[in-house]
């Protein structure tokens, strides 16, 4: 384990894993898309629009899963001071925001034909929106603080504060919703879901997960390189020859 603290070892690991996850992702998404678009039946109520579910639900799951990943990375940063945890945190945030955005837009595109409006202030929708805002805050914090080490620690603290808050927000928003019982009468998700719809959904979900893992590894690799570059150009700015650069193994 200690080995992977060393970025070079991690980069080597990435080189081994990357083809596997990338291949897996392509396969899963291809099969998933085929099943979702051509095999799965249209819903007897919703018609073709139900096919949006195969994007919407996996991205909703990913929105939460990525936050979970970031929370663990934040603990890694603050408690174990693992250098790779910083990198993992930073690389995950934009991906999480992208999946949340996808959940919001696909949901919105689903909502227009279903409810006749692009947006309602429904409990689940608003919780996701708040989660999206938290992601944006995290990204902004990353961008604004110069020193990567300091940024990592501060963002980790905020991520944990957010992690404590997200369940509270969810609970309050649900409570708020029951309080107001808005006019729109709809329920997301039926009680049961036919197997013919479940399989495409699960395959898409696994595909999204491997997609995230692949992109996360790539983004972490970028971040490691970015830090290396930063260090070297700092050395160069000091007028010293960046000797380390020759010693670093090429990718």
């Amino acid at each position: 384990m200690q080995n992977y603290a060393n970025p070079t070892h991690f980069l080597r690991l990435v080189r081994v894993l990357l083809p596997v996850t990338a291949g897996l992702t392509t396969g899963l998404l291809a099969v998933g898309l085929y099943l979702a678009l051509f095999v799965a039946p249209a819903d007897y109520q919703q018609g073709e629009t139900v096919r949006i579910m195969y994007l919407h639900v996996p991205s909703a799951w990913m929105a939460m899963f990525v936050y979970l990943v970031m929370t663990s990375a934040a603990i890694g940063t603050l408690v174990f001071r693992h250098p790779l945890a910083d990198v993992a945190q930073k690389a995950a945030a934009p991906l999480g925001a992208a999946f949340t955005f996808l959940c919001l837009t696909t949901g919105s595109l689903w909502g227009k034909p279903e409810w006749g409006t692009w947006w309602v202030w429904d409990a689940r929708l608003t919780s996701v929106l708040v989660l999206f805002l938290i992601y944006l805050g995290i990204i902004a914090l990353w961008q604004v603080i110069e020193d990567p080490g300091k940024a990592a620690r501060l963002v980790a603290i905020f991520t944990l504060v957010g992690a404590v808050n997200v369940p509270i927000i969810k609970f309050s928003v649900d409570w708020w919703h029951t309080l107001h019982q808005p006019a729109s009468v709809f329920r997301m998700g039926g009680p049961t879901i036919a197997a013919s719809m479940l399989w495409p959904l699960l395959i898409m979900a696994v595909g999204f997960t491997t997609l995230f893992l692949t992109l996360h590894m790539l983004a972490m690799r970028n971040e490691i390189l970015r830090r290396r570059l930063r260090r070297l150009s700092m050395l160069a700015a000091d007028g010293a020859a960046p000797l380390g650069v020759v010693a670093e193994p090429a990718e």
Binding site: L78, V130, V144, I157, F158, N165, I169, W175
Partner: protein, 236 residues
């Protein structure tokens, strides 16, 4: 500034014997009183919001009374945010924060006391003014009492949450907007239960008010650790 060497010196001597936290509170209140700053800004901002809403909603008294608590709560939330970014920043810039870090007093307590000072300067005047503003919005006496009580119970939580944002943005010179962006999503629960306690006739007062108090207590218990941790790590 007035020249009263005798009185001042005596006062200073008294202050020396004070506990660190009491001294900090006195200092912050004194600075707030002399400079003005965020204090008055909060209340006047509050007033602006209350003034402008009737123009937006139209002179429908019933409607105004219905969304009155919501307006007061949003105004309180926003007024708290104004100027909060300087809570620790001023201390960081002039080097006081270094000395806080080097004192024996735990930083967590220092954070709590600074929040208390800020709340006394901005939150409390706001709570005190809310019945008047509520009256302007045409709230019933019962509703007035509920709004005031809910603001009294809830605004400390807003300040404490804001303090986390202030600590996170302490090294950024224009952290105001970022602070708001970080903190607004987190303040959703306080807002929901605050407004509910203040004005919802269906649920009644007690349940949301108790939850609101619970949220504030949780904020008192947890946020100082987050803010102190952020302040410790921000020093570079």
């Amino acid at each position: 500034m007035s020249q009263k060497p005798q009185a001042e010196k005596r006062q200073a001597a008294i202050q020396t014997r004070r506990s660190p936290l009491a001294a900090l509170l006195v200092r912050d209140l004194r600075i707030g009183r002399r400079i003005g700053g965020a204090v008055s800004m909060g209340v006047v901002f509050f007033l602006c919001l209350v003034t402008v809403t009737p123009f937006a909603v139209g002179p429908d008294q019933a409607l105004l009374a219905r969304i009155g608590p919501a307006i007061l709560w949003i105004a309180a939330l926003l007024a708290t945010l104004l100027g909060l970014d300087r809570l620790f920043q001023a201390d960081a810039e002039d080097g006081s924060l270094d000395l806080f870090l080097m004192s024996e007093t735990p930083l967590e307590l220092i954070v709590v006391v600074k929040c208390l000072g800020h709340w006394l300067l901005t939150g409390l005047p706001l709570v005190a003014a809310s019945p008047i503003f509520g009256l302007m919005l045409g709230l019933e006496p019962a509703a007035l009492a509920r709004v005031t009580a809910s603001l009294l119970a809830g605004t400390p939580a807003l300040t404490l949450l804001g303090a986390v944002g202030a600590a996170l943005t302490v090294s950024l010179r224009r952290g105001g907007l970022l602070l708001a962006v970080l903190i607004l999503p987190l303040s959703v629960p306080v807002l929901i239960f605050g407004v509910a306690a203040a004005g919802d006739p269906v649920v009644g007062f007690k349940t949301p008010f108790l939850i609101l108090c619970g949220l504030t207590l949780a904020a008192v218990a947890l946020t100082p650790f987050a803010a102190a941790a952020a302040l410790r790590h921000a020093g570079d």
